[in-house]
């Protein structure tokens, strides 16, 4: 069964450093998403991506964040200069025409 994969599973970084979180969506899906979950809180939408451009972004998704689909298979989330409050679990999801989003296992980002 096809699945969404994410790497790394855990990323530790120093405050102010750049991080790139990687996702491989399901191959025939067209809609891509990033969500995050701060420890003990609910899952929050960050950004959606369709047709090689951002279709919607939340207030959380400020200028420090960017997304890219560099090679037609990977979908990346970059945080330019990490802050302590960026520590969270980041989930990638992809969707085809079924209106059902499939989630990856997540990347736990720890900013020190």
């Amino acid at each position: 069964e096809p699945e969404v994969t994410q790497t790394p599973s855990h990323q530790v970084t120093q405050m102010g450093q750049e991080v790139i979180l990687r996702c491989v969506p399901i191959s025939n899906h067209l809609y891509f998403y990033w969500y995050r979950q701060i420890l003990g809180q609910k899952v929050e939408f960050l950004v959606s991506f369709y047709n090689n451009e951002i279709s919607e972004k939340s207030e959380i998704f400020d200028d420090q964040f960017s997304v890219e689909r560099p090679d037609g298979s990977n979908f990346t989330l970059k945080i330019r200069s990490t802050k302590l409050e960026d520590s969270a679990m980041y989930f990638c999801a992809s969707m085809g025409f079924s209106n059902e989003q499939f989630f990856g296992p997540g990347t736990r980002l720890t900013v020190l």
Partner: protein, 114 residues
């Protein structure tokens, strides 16, 4: 704005007992509704979904949910809970529009007593 409320933060049930997790949503049109389960340290697994049609939907692992438009609810049920069901459960609604982003509730943490 769309929102999802899960009134129960933490529920404890005995193994073999029945379970009902509550979810209320706020949405103007017919919603697309989902229940996801998250085991500790794991990602989100879809249990079931409602788009239209029969208001009682069956999901994986013996779960079902009933959409009640009059009550704006989509409660999750299971007749007999297993110890492996201990996890956090999230109700979600599709926001609608072009992006179909999901709006999640705050989750209900289920503990199962032997």
């Amino acid at each position: 704005a769309q929102s999802v409320t899960q009134p129960d933060i933490h529920i404890t049930v005995s193994e073999g007992a029945s379970l009902e997790l509550r979810c209320n949503y706020s949405y103007g049109a017919t919603p697309y509704l989902f229940w996801y389960v998250q085991s500790p340290g794991q990602g989100l697994q879809l249990l079931l979904k409602y788009f239209s049609g029969d208001t009682l939907v069956q999901g994986i692992k013996g779960f079902e949910a009933e959409f009640k438009r009059s009550q704006s609810s989509f409660n999750l049920r299971k007749p007999s809970v297993h110890w492996s069901d201990a996890a956090e459960y999230f109700c979600a609604v599709v926001h609608g529009g072009a992006t179909n982003k999901l709006i999640f509730g705050t989750g209900t943490l289920l503990a199962v007593q032997p």
